[in-house]
């Protein structure tokens, strides 16, 4: 029973923090809420008996990527968003864009409902299926990653590498030394 309670507490924290990321206007608080959300997700991974995934989540997302986010927000010293984007001429307020966004939101709701129905309603934590038990240890995780899923793994690495090269190219000004 305490496990179910912890599950709901962590889920509530994750959802609430995620909602606050977009729900309030100070970019600094948005970043902090995102960190809280990642922390709650890490707790959920621990409940799923995947401590490695939980710790990796904290190290990579909460510990490295969000520090970078915070760095950028502080460097730009972004002020609190004001009401500027509410005027009709803003590109995000065009009717076509709004319709497209609405459609995406509807699709997301349908998918969520479908996933929940398939998992047997809101009766409790979704039980682990299939490979979850196999890949819980670090040794097994490494083996599976570099044998069964090696193509996906390498493709992701190349994708990240391309993104990095792209960022360097974009950031380099004309006339800089190569």
């Amino acid at each position: 029973m305490p496990e179910t309670l912890i599950f709901y507490a962590l889920s509530g924290l994750a959802i609430g923090a995620s909602a606050l990321v977009i729900g309030q206007r100070n970019p600094m608080y948005s970043v902090l809420m995102l960190i809280a959300s990642f922390g709650a997700l890490a707790g959920l991974y621990i409940q799923l008996d995947a401590p490695f995934a939980a710790v990796a989540q904290i190290i990579i997302y909460a510990g490295a990527i969000m520090v970078l986010f915070l760095f950028v927000v502080m460097l730009l010293n972004a002020p609190t968003e004001d009401g500027a984007e509410w005027d009709r001429s803003h590109p995000l307020r065009q009717p076509a864009v709004a319709r497209f966004g609405g459609m995406l939101a509807l699709l997301l709701v349908v998918q969520l409902a479908w996933a929940l129905l398939r998992a047997g309603g809101l009766s409790g934590p979704v039980a682990g299926q299939g490979d979850v038990a196999v890949v819980s240890s670090v040794r097994e995780l490494g083996r599976v990653l570099f044998t069964d899923y090696v193509f996906a793994f390498e493709a992701t690495s190349i994708l990240i590498l391309v993104a990095m090269v792209g960022a360097v190219v974009l950031a380099r000004r004309e006339g800089d030394r190569p």
């Binding site: 600094m28 902090l32 401590p51 904290i58 190290i59 909460a62 520090v67 915070l70 760095f71 502080m74």
Partner: protein
């Protein structure tokens, strides 16, 4: 069952108590050693040889008025020091500091000295110490002062640069030990080669140890990498606007982080509680001796080496330390593969 639970609670409380003591004693040790290196006495008026000086310092800080700048962010300004010190204490939870013992037959099953034995312990320590930077960054941002902001910015940039080399040095040790549990890493270093050389990973990973120590000093924001609070440039950096207890928590977090860093270095490279002459039950004495040696070196470096320039810090981190740690990792992986196959 009941007794075991109580004993484990006792170990946790004792660890917490010792960490608080460590931060107080390190303040004194730092001032004494600094005085010695600068050919003066250091504090010597409060208590015998100034031993009670930390108590006087704490009392003074508790009595000071707490100030908060008008433009500061109310919540984050309070949260930042709490976050700092919480992360510092929490990181030590995954560090074992003594062999398994039954307390002279008090317990039926031996219990390990240390708060928690986690099978991904090394990563847990790393994850929690990397959360500690938020305290410094948020302190810098929420103070609404340009010096604090500069300090916070520096802290985040420095942390990202040096965390990478730090993690890569850890990965090499994980490869050697074949385990991510700190207790198993330490037990992999028991015994000797040729009867007199201790089987420490220090001798298998000399480059890794140097990288670990350098990155560790940078991670704990100590001189010569103390950019977030560089007093000649930034007044006091991220903690410029802090006073009283809120201020006191920052140095405390720093000293506890130093202790954790030294304890992890002892576990990973210096054989933890394994040592000659003493029976395993008293291994924690060796552990204390080794931690003390590393902490002394920490203070020694601070008062001997001048601070780098900021661009030198970034150049060194990315162009020297990180490539060196990657080469170290690749060579270690190749050797482990060769000797295990």
């Amino acid at each position: 069952m009941e007794l075991r639970f109580l004993v484990q609670l006792g170990i946790i409380g004792f660890t917490f108590f010792m960490l608080i003591n460590a931060s107080a004693l390190l303040v004194l040790a730092e001032r004494k050693i600094m005085g010695f290196m600068q050919q003066r006495y250091g504090p010597y008026l409060v208590g015998p040889h100034g031993l009670l000086q930390p108590l006087a310092d704490i009392l003074k800080l508790l009595m000071k008025e707490e100030l908060r700048p008008k433009g500061a962010d109310k919540w984050l300004f309070t949260l930042a020091p709490i976050l700092s010190v919480t992360a510092a204490f929490a990181a030590f939870a995954a560090v074992p500091w003594g062999a398994e013992t039954t307390f002279f037959g008090l317990l039926d099953d031996p219990v390990g000295l240390g708060v928690a034995d986690i099978n991904v312990g090394i990563l847990v320590v790393f994850a929690i110490t990397s959360m500690g930077v938020y305290g410094i960054v948020l302190a810098g941002w929420s103070s609404n002062s340009k010096y604090s902001l500069m300090g916070g910015l520096r802290a985040s940039a420095q942390m990202i640069s040096y965390e990478l080399s730090y993690a890569t040095a850890l990965a090499a040790v994980i490869l050697l030990a074949g385990s991510m549990s700190l207790r198993e890493v330490v037990d992999g270093q028991a015994g000797t080669w040729l009867g007199f050389i201790p089987r420490w990973y220090l001798f298998l990973q000399p480059v890794g140890f140097i990288i670990y120590v350098i990155a560790g000093v940078a991670e704990t924001n100590r001189a010569p990498f103390d950019f977030p609070e560089a007093e000649q440039e930034l007044v006091a950096g991220y903690n410029t606007e802090y006073s009283s207890v809120r201020f006191a928590l920052f140095p405390q977090a720093e000293y506890i982080n130093m202790t954790t860093m030294s304890a992890v270095a002892t576990d990973l490279y210096l054989g933890g509680w394994h040592g000659p002459f003493l029976p395993p039950e008293y291994g924690w004495i060796w552990f204390l001796v080794k931690i003390g040696a590393i902490l002394f070196a920490y203070i020694w470096v601070r008062w001997t080496v001048p601070r780098y320039r900021y661009d030198q810090l970034m150049q060194f981190g990315w162009k020297w330390l990180f490539p060196a740690s990657v080469i170290n990792l690749v060579v270690t992986a190749a050797l482990v593969l060769y000797f295990n196959a």
